[in-house]
């Protein structure tokens, strides 16, 4: 077997190599929520300087767009990584029903971060979904606060 090709070559080869293909599947969801950026550890002036309009005491809101990417082998029986409906139910139960028409400030725990920035909210979404899936299944999250501002978390690249 000395002439066997190295494993990486086998994995990357012409796509007809041994084993089942590993595919990433992305589905998109949205929720509308209010929030206010405010860190109680800072003075009102510091909060106003740091967060600007996002520190408005009345709060504001966004229609958040969430992309959830799972990664895994394609089942030879179903041709799917996972039943799409199963993923939809999970994301609706864990995220959409909690976050839609809600105040994000009420949802984040102190351990999530100092205030409801989309970075912190994305980390919370990751925690809620990753804990409800088989190990390693959740691969990437993209959370769009607006079409112009979005945040991505990817397994490995963020040490998760």
């Amino acid at each position: 077997m000395a002439s066997a090709p190295p494993r990486t070559r086998e994995l990357e080869g012409d796509g007809r190599g041994s084993g089942v293909p590993v595919v990433e599947v992305t589905r998109t969801y949205q929720f509308s929520a209010a929030h206010r950026l405010h860190n109680p550890r800072f003075s009102p002036d510091e909060n106003a300087r740091l967060y600007g309009r996002c520190n408005n005491p009345s709060g504001h809101g966004h229609t958040y767009r969430l992309e959830v990417t799972i990664r895994g082998p394609v089942s030879p029986d179903t041709g799917r990584v996972e039943d799409a409906q199963h993923l939809d139910v999970l994301v609706h139960d864990r995220i959409v029903t909690r976050f839609d028409r809600a105040s994000l400030d009420d949802l984040i725990a102190p351990t999530d971060g100092p205030t409801s920035t989309t970075e912190v909210v994305a980390g919370l979404v990751w925690r809620l979904l990753d804990g409800a899936m088989p190990a390693g299944r959740l691969h990437r999250l993209r959370l769009e606060e607006t079409p112009n501002n979005f945040f991505e978390l990817e397994r490995d690249s963020v040490g998760r």
Binding site: L11, G13, V23, E24, T69, T78, G79, A84
Partner: protein
């Protein structure tokens, strides 16, 4: 290293059916996806390489467009994937399997750059990515 992406569209009909299962099993697993329906697929083909010192290009986009048309679009566009594409006689024509077969069709045809990713949108809120990776089945 530069990544270059060409985007194309094709429209096709399909239904989800595993020929090794009974009608009841297919209905239970695939539900209404077992009915005949169709999609406007959006395909993004990403290749990787270094720009040529002569042309400044990783790959001529027109050549990539022609290659995708010949290898993929002409095979799938305005076709019924289950009936018209032999690959899907045995495999369920999901976006996952479609992305894998598109990879298999394109990868051997690329000469001066490597295929990096096949991204296939079934609609604006659902897409799959394939990087040519495989896992052992055990």
């Amino acid at each position: 290293m530069i990544l270059l992406t060409k985007r194309v569209e094709f429209c096709a009909a399909h239904r989800y059916v595993n020929p090794r299962w009974t009608a009841e099993e297919n209905q239970r697993v695939f539900g209404k996806c077992g009915n005949e329906h169709g999609h406007n697929y959006l395909l993004e083909v990403t290749v990787q390489g270094e720009p040529s010192p002569d042309t400044g290009m990783v790959m001529d986009l027109k050549a990539l467009k022609d290659l995708i048309a010949e290898a993929v679009v002409d095979r799938f566009d305005h076709k019924h994937l289950n009936r018209d594409v032999p690959y899907f006689k045995e495999k369920v024509p999901t976006p996952e399997n479609l992305a894998v077969v598109i990879w298999e069709l394109l990868e051997p045809r690329l000469e001066h750059c490597r295929l990096h990713r096949v991204r296939l949108y079934e609609d604006g809120s659902f897409f799959v990515d394939y990087y040519g990776q495989r896992a052992s089945q055990d």
